[in-house]
Symmetry: C2
Subunit: 491 residues, 2 copies
């Protein structure tokens, strides 16, 4: 077989596997949005069956054989990325023994229910054995995956942010931290007076506002749809990238900004070239890059002063007189800084402090400096230090996030990386697009979408996140752009 | 390996395959109800990937090996059915060469589009090459599948109605035919005057009526949902059996009776025992049995005079004064007999005449007595003979049904078998449930649902359709019950 033939055969194998992954994704979407109550057990079996088939395709030795016959130097960047990712996925799959993979899947499936119950009942002790088991399994997994001289944590981080290591990441977040705490201390003293909202915030009206927001951010409705779910999410691929939101009758901003956030994720997926469909190169660069797309639309644009010029009259049209009289008032409300326990409800300042706390705890756990038994104490101590108040109950502390229950260690820091990337990208985009603020004020976001499409979306997973960021920004990304943006807005 | 172990291993293999089939079914449902426009191409790849994986599992020699190690005499009826169906599916899969299977799949996928275009443009000639190719491929398939002394057509019929042969089926439908033509001739002369409908037939109101109908027929909402689609259908399995309907603003009965029809299908699936989940025994006995469940709810119950006592006030509640003043008038309207070109819009008399016409043409095609080139002529000639009017355009004739485009030869007769089975079952059910008419008049269908659950639904595919019908009716089913019912109602 010649190199070109081997490459084509490899692609054929990978595309079929990817089609099965897409199918699995559609089932997950259905589960959160459409599936009737009694369908849960059957759905679990369907997902498990697909996972098994996908795993067996990922460990197929034919991948290694074909990769060995390919002359990579003859491939373009996209081809190189396909071979790189084929090897990466194959290596990760074969390094983990089938037994461990099975245990991880089983533990993850069970743990979420145990976590949810423990959180509901505010009983950390009921969750600790499960968490201990999961940490132990993830340590074993990391041991299988880690580079010879690498750390366990880096092996886990690599799943979500390929090419990123914990050491430079810790330094980066460490440099961001003082900016956040300084702004925090300044802002919580001059609290904004929030007028009570009024108006028609019925589900129909909120969904109409959500659709308008998705449209203004150039969400492609021919390749997606908007539904309701308990937790907003986006899922899918280029030609079918769906988003969800939720409706809180007392607070329309939750629905609105959840929508904008998920549109950011969906636009990234929708922005790939059709030629990349079902190939690894057509994937996404990293969770950090993904999050940068959602956070930039949500915060840098969606919560900007100029965007209020478009948003305020739109809200009046949809909700009637809703108690906020001007774009300035609206700007103050959607940017109110307030110390709270919950990460997902946090403002732009506190959000990254939440993430840094989790990241530090994860590092300590996997370096062996912290045991699961001591985790709650460590959480509460750090929270009081960073947020100036004591955790009042576990659901506001250690039990608030689902991530650790299913073993997603190394995921949290990608949220802050996303914010840092968004800071860099928004800055350089502003430099390159003339009159961007005026466009945002009018709700004319076509040039912004094109810029993101051209510079980020179309590249998919051809380049790693560090490569991509350096290509776009002309330098290694750092915290300065985000810190400057926050200082300008809140300082 | 001992027999019990072999049986358990066989079940494990079959259940995983079945979970993948269920997944494929969810994707098809999504495609017809939820999928955005641009998602079609990716969905086709996902379905094809799943079909390939399922096929490779069905041809796995391990099935034959395990079946060989099982002592069937030690199994109960359910166990025997699982082994029987495992062998049957395996045999059908291995008998068809991979190349032919691929060509059939490809041809089927392409043909539907070609058929739809030819129908839209009223051009039979544009569809004929496609149909010729499909008939030839199905002849090859039937050649692979047929029993040594069996006919090609029986091999195709067996896919939809296992155990049924064309010869007794032709005799059965042949005996039904004169009853239908006699009633037809009597009825089309004394045409019912139909008053124009009025009232609020908005989508919301029609869907509310559809939900009430589904509920009164004991559809389990915890294991299903109701949505809109271009063509109504039901899909799914015990714990997640979904139905769709459609809304014609001028005619609420289309939405209503489509819903009842699909509820009949869904109730059948919902009525299995959980122990049978994902096993072949947990499937359905045949398409004819499936159709009997939908047609009985739709016609024998849903269009009965007594049901109008419940339906008329319900419709007034939902639609307001809709122009029909009494249950009697309503009964006349929902049972109006009228000669028409289209099978799916036909009344209970004409429906089976439509089916018999197609069945006769299929028989002739696969017996080599009729060529595809002569098919339109044969259709039109027979239609004029049976319906007393000439086909005016291909979309009202040869091009009206999608079935042949994707090679579903042998499917049509199961519609009439369903009606015949429904006739038998409704008769014996009425004998066994005291005061059934009074229950129907009050919309109290609990005992009917229980009877169907006990006698039909819970048995799944443990027994073949002929076995099941004989168990329930105590005799070989024939056309007399249906003919008697039609005579009573229309004669």
């Amino acid at each position: 077989m010649n190199s070109e033939q081997a490459y084509q055969n490899l692609l054929t194998h990978l595309k079929l596997t990817n089609a099965l992954s897409q199918a699995s994704g559609v089932l997950s979407w259905d589960q959160e949005t459409m599936m009737p109550r009694d369908g849960a057990a059957a759905r679990a079996e369907q997902s498990a069956a697909l996972a098994l088939v996908i795993h067996s395709r990922n460990i197929d030795p034919v991948i290694d054989e074909l990769c060995g016959e390919i002359d990579e130097s003859a491939l373009d960047d996209t081809g190189k990325a396909n071979v790189r990712e084929a090897r990466r996925t194959h290596q990760r799959a074969i390094r983990i023994p089938a037994e461990l993979a099975g245990e991880l899947a089983r533990a993850g499936a069970l743990a979420q229910g145990i976590w949810a119950k423990a959180r509901r009942e505010e009983k950390v002790a009921d969750f600790l054995p499960t968490l201990k088991n999961m940490v132990s399994l993830k340590q074993q997994e990391a041991q299988c995956l880690k580079e010879e001289d690498g750390s366990l944590y880096d092996a886990l981080l690599d799943e979500y942010e390929p090419g990123m290591k914990s050491e430079p990441l810790a330094k980066l977040l460490g440099r961001l931290r003082p900016h956040l705490t300084a702004l925090r201390e300044k802002l919580i003293t001059d609290n904004v007076e929030i007028k009570p909202l009024k108006g028609n915030f019925e589900e129909g009206a909120q969904m109409e506002m959500a659709r308008r927001l998705a449209s203004v951010f150039n969400y492609n409705w021919n390749a997606g749809r908007l539904d309701l779910s308990v937790h907003p999410f986006s899922s899918g691929y280029r030609s079918d990238s769906r988003i969800t939101t939720r409706v809180d009758r007392g607070n329309p901003f939750d629905c609105m900004y959840s929508t904008v956030h998920e549109v950011g994720h969906a636009n990234y997926e929708q922005g790939r070239e059709p030629e990349m469909d079902r190939t690894p190169a057509g994937g996404y660069a990293s969770m950090g890059i993904h999050e940068s797309q959602s956070r930039m639309l949500e915060n840098q644009i969606g919560r900007s002063r100029v965007f209020m010029e478009w948003l305020h009259p739109q809200m009046k049209e949809v909700f009637g007189d809703f108690g906020i009289d001007s774009p300035d008032e609206l700007f103050a409300i959607v940017n109110k800084v307030e110390t709270g326990f919950i990460r997902t409800e946090a403002d732009e300042i506190h959000y990254n402090l939440h993430v840094v706390l989790r990241f530090e705890l994860e590092l300590a756990l996997f370096a062996g400096d912290l045991s699961v038994d001591d985790l709650e104490g460590a959480w509460n101590e750090r929270f009081e230090r960073d947020f100036g108040m004591a955790v009042d109950k576990p659901s506001n502390g250690l039990l608030q996030d689902v991530h650790w229950s299913f073993g997603a260690f190394g995921y949290f820091p990608t949220y802050s990386l996303g914010n840092i990337y968004a800071g860099e990208l928004f800055k350089i985009m502003g430099d390159q697009i003339g009159g961007m603020e005026a466009m945002i004020a009018k709700g004319e976001l076509g040039e912004i979408s094109s810029w993101l499409g051209e510079n980020i979306h179309r590249h998919g997973n051809v380049y790693s996140a560090p490569q991509l960021m350096e290509m776009v920004c002309g330098k290694v990304p750092d915290e300065k752009a985000l810190a400057g943006y926050l200082q300008d807005k809140f300082g």
